[in-house]
Structures are given as structure tokens and as C-alpha cells.
Amino acid sequence: MIDTLRLTAEEANGLLERREVSSSELFAAYRAAIDERDGELHCYLRLCDGEGGDGIPIALKDVISTQGVHTTAGSKILESYVPVFDATVAAKCKARGLRLLGKTNTDEFAMGSSSENSAFGPSRNPWDPSRVPGGSGGGSAAAVSAGLAPWALGSDTGGSIKQPAALCGIVGLRPTYGTVSRYGIVAFASSLDQVGPTTKTVRDCALLYSIIAGRDECDSTTVELPEHVELPNEDGLRGLRVGVPKELNKAEGIEPGVAAAVEAAIAQLEELGAEVGECALPLSVEFGMPCYYLIAPAEASSNLARYDGVRYGYRADAEERLEMYERTRNEGFGDEPKRRIMVGTYALSAGYYDAYYGQAQKVRTVIKREHDALFETFDALVSPTSPTVAFPLGARTADPIAMYLSDLLTIPSCMAGLPGLSIPCGLSEGLPVGLQLVGPQFAENTLFRIGHALEQALGFDPVPERLRA
């Protein structure tokens, strides 16, 4: 009997290597778990037949192109789209023998923090199905949490891997910008989008990152990793310096239970031998949100111009071409892409460009410099990942700005292109709390080392209480 709720990817690999189970048996076990629980949770938009090799299964967020398998980005405008090529990350997974379980739910075009913006209905949090799993990668995070995939890939623009990982009590990595290929990923904001793993353990996270990272000639923004990915082993943190930026830890809106769990974990870091010190990011947190909500919509308005009913996707009936474009986009896009297209178009339009987009790009420099300065003193920064635990479905859908604040603490490091790891660090009101570790560019190994040691010391049980046997 394979317990998919408990099995890590590393353990699953071990079972295969020792020939205790076959790849098909593993695949069937996850499919059985999906049959049992996905009716309630709606993690998957589409199931696959195990395309790939003879290894362990994987789920991919539905913004990752898969040859011959529908890829919708959670949008009606791509409902019928079947890619004729694999994204580089999908090809890399297949080349390593990973078998495709299915495509996971996402906010439309990865725009959202709850998965409620999916045109195909929201996913639900395995810890409490009346609550959201976070977003945009809510499907991937909920699937890993509920044992419906051993691990999954997501994509992160302002928090779409880390925030759902936090809300579902699992591990999520947003890698350094440029370390993972974006070729074949449905584009949202190209200077921010990054693909990364969602997993049960930090070691699984490092392993999956090692599979997908590296330069890709199909994505000219990618670079070679300066050092090999190391699977973390050490339990101690002697010699490491961890900063606690007060603006990220004392921000308005952080729930007391979230702050308490993170403070306890920070005390644990010190017990493990790390030097912990307070520090400040005075401008990055205050100006990160407005900066992000100019740059991301501006890039989105440009990227989403391609959905015009001509080359692929939905087309509305119309007698004349301009009418066809405008109606196709009205009928094909949901509210959130429309809002962001409008904000981005406004911010880029004549007369407003310098005041909005140009100014936001300068703020981005300020945010990057502020972080760079801290990394002269610290190896990593720690804070909550999300200000709150998982919130009820519908709680933030009527107010876009309330929804945007879900990513308050993840956005600043994204703007600076920095890697961020979220690990579960405890419970508040019976729901998981995520702890965020941010490092300098290419410091994934440091984040894995700290995350692994903390994970071992905290002993958090990632299986949702209501699903435990």
C-alpha cells in the first residue's frame, strides 16, 4: 500500500530504485488518490496518461506547455489550445523519466492569490476546503499537500509559488530570475516570471530544482548556475547570518498567530547556531506593491496582446476584423486579466509612461539596492511568507486591492530577482503558516541548507490534519 499523503519524492525514487514498486504502480496510486479527493479539491484541470518515462509522477501548473496536452492558463481564451511543443521544463522532466500526472489549476494567466480567478472554478485548501489554497499556483500546492502528486511545478511572478505553498503547508521555491527556462511558459510579466518547484520537503525541492535549472538556448535570459545544486544534509547552521527585516515582520495586516509561529521559528534558527540580527528594508516593503502593480500589468498588457483570435485560442463571431479582436478579448478574458490589461495600457500610454512605468522601474532599482546592501551583512533574510493563513473562498474577490495585499511580503524580493524559499513553520488557528527565506541571487544552496535544518528541527507534519489516518 503506497501512502501518497506521506510519501516524499525522494522516498518514491527509493522505492523505484529498490524495485519495491513499479513506476506504473506509483502512477496508479496517485491516480487513485486523485479519484478519491480531487472531486472536492479541484487541483487538476486535466489528467494525463503518464507521458514521460519510467520514473515517479509529477504535476505541472497549466501555464506550462505540454505537447499534445491542453494548456489553458486557467483561461477561457486558451480553453481549446493544444501546444505543438513542450516547454523546456516539461521536456527536462520527461527526459529525467518523470511521468505527467496532469495539469494543475491556476488563476487565469497566473494573475491572482487564491486560484479563484481560474475560468474553470477555484481549487480548495486540503486543510479546510471552505478556504482557498492560495494562488496563482493553488492547484499545484493543494495537489502536493493532499497527496495527489509527489511534487509539482509552479510559476511565480509576485508570489504564485511561495504564497500557495505557505497556505497549504508545503515547500515552495521561487528560483533566482534567469536560472530556469521560461521557454514554453504562458507569459505574464516576463521580467518577473520564474518556474519553480512545490514539494513536501526541502530536499525534494532541491532535487527538482536541480532537474529544471540551467541555461537554455531557447530562452536568452537564462544563465548557467554558478555552482551545483546540493541536496542539504546538515542539521546545524553555525556560521550563517540571518537577517530579520522589521518591515517584513511587523507589517500591518500580519496576523498575530502568523507572527508568533515565525518568531518561534526564528528562535529555533538561533538554537541551530545561526546568528540572527534585526535589519531594515524601509523602501522595499512600502513601495514594492505599487511598483509591482505597475510593472507586472504593463508587461502583461503587452504579453496578452497576442490573444487576438487569429493564431490560436478562442475567436468570437464578428463580421469585421477589428470587431473580432475586441469581442474575442472581451469574451475570452476574465475580470482580472482585463483589469491588468487596462492598468498596464494606461501606465504605458502617451503622457503617463514616465510618471508610472518609468518611475516604477527606478523604484525597482531602489528595491534591488536595498536588498544588495543587506546581503553584505546577512546570508539570508527571514519573514512570514503570507501575512495571513488561508482565507475563506470569496473573502477577497470583490476587492482587488485586498487580494493584491496577499503578496505584500513576497513581492519585494521578486522585484529584485532574488530566490525565495517558503517552508511550513507551524499552525495558526489550525492552518499552516509559511516562513519565507530570501537570499542573494544564486544562493539557492544556502536557502536549502537553512530550510532543511529548520524543517528537521521544527518537525512540522505536512499532512493536513483532516486527512490523517
Binding site: 490560436y312 490589461i341 518611475q359
Partner: protein
């Protein structure tokens, strides 16, 4: 910061986005609130600060000018809503 209906319609036209009357009204209010929030970036005096368009310091990536395998015409057209004789087909302009 109040965005007028005319401005909403102007931006929608630039974005090739048809909006219903209900959407013009609803998005108008939401856009005003969002633009008000993001206008905060203007509080900083950033004269002399260079813009960041890309978070990594990388130079141009060059590749040899050699032909690679690419999609066939049939593959490239496979997802098209309408096509004819190896071309995309649209309603008349």
C-alpha cells in the same frame, strides 16, 4: 484619482478590448482605486537613479546563425480558429 468613462473607453480601445456598459462602470471605479494606490511611486524623488528593466546583469546572448529544425506550417496552424491554404484566415479588415 478619478478615471472618467471616456478615459476607460480610450484605454480599452488602445488595448483592443470591448467592454460592456456594466464593465465600464465597474472597472472605472476599480481602476481609479488601483491607480491611486500605485501612484505612490511618485512620492520618491528618483532623479539620477537608473531604471531596472531586468534583474540580472547579463549581456546580450548571441547564437550562431544556423538553421534549426522548426515547426511545420501544419503544426504552426494547428491551433488556428480558421485557416486556408497554409495561412491564417480572419474576417475582412
Amino acid at each position: 484619482m478619478e478615471i472618467s468613462q471616456d478615459e476607460v473607453l480610450h484605454v480599452a480601445r488602445l488595448a483592443r478590448l470591448e467592454l460592456t456598459d456594466e464593465e465600464v462602470e465597474r472597472f472605472g471605479g476599480q481602476l481609479s482605486a488601483i491607480l491611486e494606490a500605485v501612484s505612490k511611486v511618485s512620492e520618491l524623488d528618483l532623479a539620477g537613479v537608473p531604471p531596472t528593466a531586468h534583474p540580472l546583469e547579463v549581456a546580450n546572448a548571441w547564437d550562431e546563425d544556423e538553421p534549426h529544425e522548426c515547426l511545420t506550417v501544419d503544426e504552426a496552424l494547428r491551433n488556428a480558429p480558421d485557416r486556408e491554404d497554409g495561412h491564417f484566415r480572419t474576417p475582412p479588415a
